[in-house]
Symmetry: C2
Subunit: 310 residues, 2 copies
């Protein structure tokens, strides 16, 4: 991970490599959340499995350097990436059609904390984008840490042709408030928003079947409407889903799996059915919004320089 | 927030100011978690309220610049800090005996994401430590973002006389794996660990009273035993707790509040009853562990320099 000391020419070479790799992937989707623990990784992992079940070739890149749980949920914890020529890295394949890359594959001691500073994280993410041999994929899902910090910014600024973002929230007021920031963040950086998922949306008691609104119900949908972004659906809490995650098995692939699996499969089908025309339209719209914001920022800066606020 | 451009002399002045402020606070406790969404802020806010109920003077510093929810849970969202002389900042006081400082008090638009880079976050945290006029306090609880990144590191390296850390986890395997990293992180940096709280530990169905192990039960306690740190208790999930948070009222202060309030009050009593002798002992122990790790690192570096791995 020596990328933070790269000279100018080496950076150009790396960017060309990233472009080549990314051109072989049809759709590249960022999965974000404003707040931690809303189940962003759960959504990523289950959407990936559902897309593979539908016959798609899917890659998952886990950029959460502080808590890499993707590997655990795919049941490939402790596995190492392989290389043949010393420069390309081969993803781990938990099942046919699925390729996974996570920082945890490069960590020797799983109890060790990762005290990565911003520039090192940026270098690591760029290196992953440049050096991982994904091959041809239909989807690359990129799991980012919660919030609007270094990692999602590094992905957005260094991944050419990003299709869009999925924003995961719970209905809880504090989570909704934070996920509004993710919407604003996506917009400001010109990333089309594919939609909002309301996760952990109610729990059906396994004993008496009553619905229990642990984190509330409906807050994510209201936020999506209020901020004019598509609402992709609500995923209820299920104890069996958590157990499948801890065991590293694919919950959505279980034919008898409960309502959370049904909801996650429906979201995957919706994403997979999105027309290229629609994606081009929202991309153009997102670029326009960004250009306008850039222009407004530039004007403010010029006014400041000209003593407008002196 | 111009701290990232400070010259050497200004930094010395700032460090002296931090020392003076911190000397007036009896106990300074860092609340950490390995993974987001385990209820770290819930634990912080409720411990603070329980300590105030017990007659203590308590400050809460919210260093989570990406999702500042402390203010919302104390019911003081949108409030601004005040200054009289232009240099000291006065905390917001949600109730007598409680003082709160959060980045959200300095943000104008609550939908705006905070794309703070590492050095800016460090500068902001130092400025908060130096400029906030806490006065005399019994406790300062510092809420840090999940993980082992810039913010907890900035607090640890810039807060003299830190009493120790409380690590919050759920029983879920992925959360436990991440919180082990927080234990290792605390140890490596010489911060005494006051103990581990297992939050969201089971839910009692409000309709049929059966216990539902949503995130599992017991994983945090096992981790605490395995890593030889004190276990502070398990806090069950309650829908009413989440509703109190969304409303910004103090859950632990409700006489009729359920088992989660009882558990949180017990943890607060335990912390408040800790003897100074015990705290000095674990501080000495933590410093010893850090010195040994520093020494081992130094040896490894020297071996590398001497061509040990050449």
């Amino acid at each position: 991970m020596a990328g933070e000391y790269m000279d100018f020419e080496a950076q150009i070479t790396q960017m060309k490599k990233i472009k080549e790799r990314m051109d072989r992937i049809r759709r590249k989707i960022l999965v974000m959340s404003g707040k931690g623990g809303v189940g962003k990784t759960t959504v990523t992992v289950n959407l990936a499995n559902a897309l593979v079940d539908a016959g798609r070739k899917v890659g998952v890149l886990d950029t959460d350097l502080h808590g890499p749980n993707v590997a655990k949920m795919f049941g490939v914890e402790g596995r190492l990436m392989e290389t043949e020529d010393g420069t390309s890295l081969f993803p781990v394949e938990p099942r046919p059609g699925l390729k996974v890359v996570s920082l945890s594959f490069a960590l020797s001691d799983s109890d060790a904390p990762v005290v990565w500073r911003g520039p090192m994280k940026l270098a690591a993410i760029k290196q992953f984008l440049a050096d991982v041999e994904w091959g041809n994929l239909d989807y690359l899902l990129i799991d980012t840490p919660p919030g609007t910090g270094d990692e999602p910014l590094a992905v957005i600024q260094n991944l050419p042709g990003l299709t869009g973002s999925i924003i995961v929230t719970t209905a809880q007021a504090v989570a909704v408030a934070d996920s509004r920031k993710s919407v604003t963040f996506s917009r400001r950086l010109g990333v089309p928003i594919l939609g909002v998922v309301e996760n952990m949306s109610g729990l059906r008691c396994p004993h008496c079947s009553h619905e229990i609104p642990i984190f509330g119900i409906g807050g994510g949908k209201l936020m999506a409407q209020d901020m004019s972004v598509p609402f992709l659906g609500r995923v209820p809490i299920e104890v069996e889903l958590r157990e499948a995650e801890d065991a590293g098995t694919s919950w959505v692939s279980e034919p008898a799996a409960g309502p959370s699996a049904v909801a996650l499969r429906e979201i995957a089908s919706y994403i997979d059915a999105l027309e290229d025309d629609y994606l081009e339209m929202i991309e153009a719209e997102a670029k326009k919004v960004k250009a306008e914001a850039d222009e407004a920022d530039k004007r403010t800066q010029e006014e400041n320089r000209n003593g407008g606020y002196a």
